[in-house]
Symmetry: C2
Amino acid sequence: MAASSIRFGPGVTAEVGMDFRNLGVRRVALVTDATLRALRPVEVAVAALERERVRYAVYADVRVEPGEGSIKHAVSWAKAEQPDAFLAVGGGSVMDTAKLMNLYTCYPSASFLDFVNKPLGGGRPIDKPLKPLICVPTTAGTGSETTGTAIFDLAGKRAKTGVAHRALKPLLGICDPLNTRTMPSAVHASSGLDVLCHSLESWTAIPYHERVPRPTNPILRPAYQGANPISDIFSLQALRATVKYLPRAVRDPDDAEAQSQMLLAATLAGVGFGNAGVHLCHGMSYPISSQNPARYHHPGYVVPHPIIPHGVSVAVTAPAVFRFTGPSNPDRHLAAAEIFGVDIANVKSESAGEVLSEALSEFLVKLGDQPRGLKALGFSEGDVDGLVEGTIPQRRVLMLAPNLASEEEAEKGREQLRGLFLDAMEY
Amino acid sequence: MAASSIRFGPGVTAEVGMDFRNLGVRRVALVTDATLRALRPVEVAVAALERERVRYAVYADVRVEPGEGSIKHAVSWAKAEQPDAFLAVGGGSVMDTAKLMNLYTCYPSASFLDFVNKPLGGGRPIDKPLKPLICVPTTAGTGSETTGTAIFDLAGKRAKTGVAHRALKPLLGICDPLNTRTMPSAVHASSGLDVLCHSLESWTAIPYHERVPRPTNPILRPAYQGANPISDIFSLQALRATVKYLPRAVRDPDDAEAQSQMLLAATLAGVGFGNAGVHLCHGMSYPISSQNPARYHHPGYVVPHPIIPHGVSVAVTAPAVFRFTGPSNPDRHLAAAEIFGVDIANVKSESAGEVLSEALSEFLVKLGDQPRGLKALGFSEGDVDGLVEGTIPQRRVLMLAPNLASEEEAEKGREQLRGLFLDAMEY
């Protein structure tokens, strides 16, 4: 496995000008969103660039939970600007948009779907190094500063998809706890839930040596390899930190220790799932966020359109998912339950999934302001078939889901997903 | 921090031909030593290259614990061969020699000392990418497949030194448990002790945020950054695995699980210390191995010259070192002692160093065939001044030693090192 470079510490954002100067970069595209444009993280980054006389142009039109349209807008801008390097200051939406701006300016004649994951896109591998990208996360969630993945909504497909390739990885992630202080409490909560699911899904993903088909050449290995001894270390450590610090970070915006530890946890989880992969919570979340039939607008999110934040849509199915995956590896599910504080001494293996599911539900309820199932987000049983159809194309993550029927048994798999969505209606 | 790519699993060596073909490499320098030349790891690697029709030339003259002379010999060979890439199959000596062959063929007009660590060398930074290097470790110890460090004896200086720079890092480490089966038991033991000290030293090194002087530009950060939240995870996991599996691996050469886990532990410890650094055990080990006044030849090492293996020379001072460093961070020393099985519930902070020291001594004694102190290696009190003088130039690691006087208080530092060597005479 490969990891990006990570720099962690309060104040390290101020070094980013020197980083670009050290790289010999003359013109940087600073990618952010309209809200952040006026906030401290961007201000510090801009001052750092100016201090080192690195020229820059700002793109601040990134959309939260980006779609094909907003990505294409950003790519056109970048093609016209022709920067030598990219600097993303923001959350997952900003970092993922910047990765795609970088990709498509390095392949100016590629069509948009060429690199998009199969089966929705062509799954074309990136066969040359891209321009340097430095990511400065302002949320503690996505871990995108460590991964080679960029996710967005594909117009007309009612599902999210993305591009996943090692070459998309940022050169450097600058994790500065001073930058997550601008997060509203609701963003703390939902981005922290993303970390929770990254760590739990990568910890329970099928093991790397059971992934089929085995590639005939190492270059064909997917970015998501299945749970492995190195990703395990990152995923478990991130889970421990999230269980301990997320409730504090949500409750008290001035708890600097909790916020700093959550930023680190997000990065650790990023390395874990960036190599091991995620599975059902993420695979099922894309149609949930994307379809949003009742135009749900999550409280605390200041955006001019309905939104089921990514972290909310992954966590809402988690109690159902880990009940379902429990039998695949009871020991791992019990180890996770123990991290939530469950005394597992007398728990039987058969109950491992149920016990983890209950611990998770309790954690979510105590965290506060979370929908207790898909119903609370406005979904009804009539939406389940659409959700299943929006999940099926997430082959890249579903192939890592334990207990799920393989692609060859398509009908059985659909039935299992239907059961999972129904079970996720209420917890 | 940055990590090399690691591929782990039984049989993965057979993929190395495809790796070079994927890289577009036409001619590989295969670097190994005379013993390994005839053994299975080299045989498998050669077959893999031939299967993919990658041309190669073999350099099998690497010396165990290499010196300036053997490095220069290897570099001359490489300059004449002009390979596109390097493949190291062997232990730390082989991997470190291959790193330096790569470096000096990429800088053909550099003088040998230019890149060597200060103060013995010029400490010139490597300012361009080197040729691809793939490392296939055949011992479970050095972790060199993950690091940017190459260590050797400097003629006439009675001390080891080396080159340390991120650019020296291998592109890929192929960790194949089938390759460590050729290790004699004595090599298992001493290379495992290297892992033990890598993990303990990096776990107890001064924290990254206390390292002084602070660099004015991120490019000036040393490869060894001090203990940090990411290296901690690797170091502790490696320590746990070593305490559990090293005794089994030494006792039973057919214990495939223990051997495989030790190979993984060595790699994890490599990532840990490769980013956090090592300190006193390593700093003091270089003159121990290098000076060897009684021409000690460690039992089980089939080499035609006297040898204090690297792992033996680092572990021999460990009980004294961690007694000394205990007060710097009692919690960390107690956490380490707990991994050795000590019940720390009622141990006072003041005893943390002593308790870890005792746990270590007991572990070393039980492992068997280890010298119980410097006396058993043939050192006497009259050698201590020479050992101290050989340690002082190891500034790169001494700056990470907790409790040690700074460079400015040179005499106090010498006195502390003298005390440590005297304390290490017997345990």
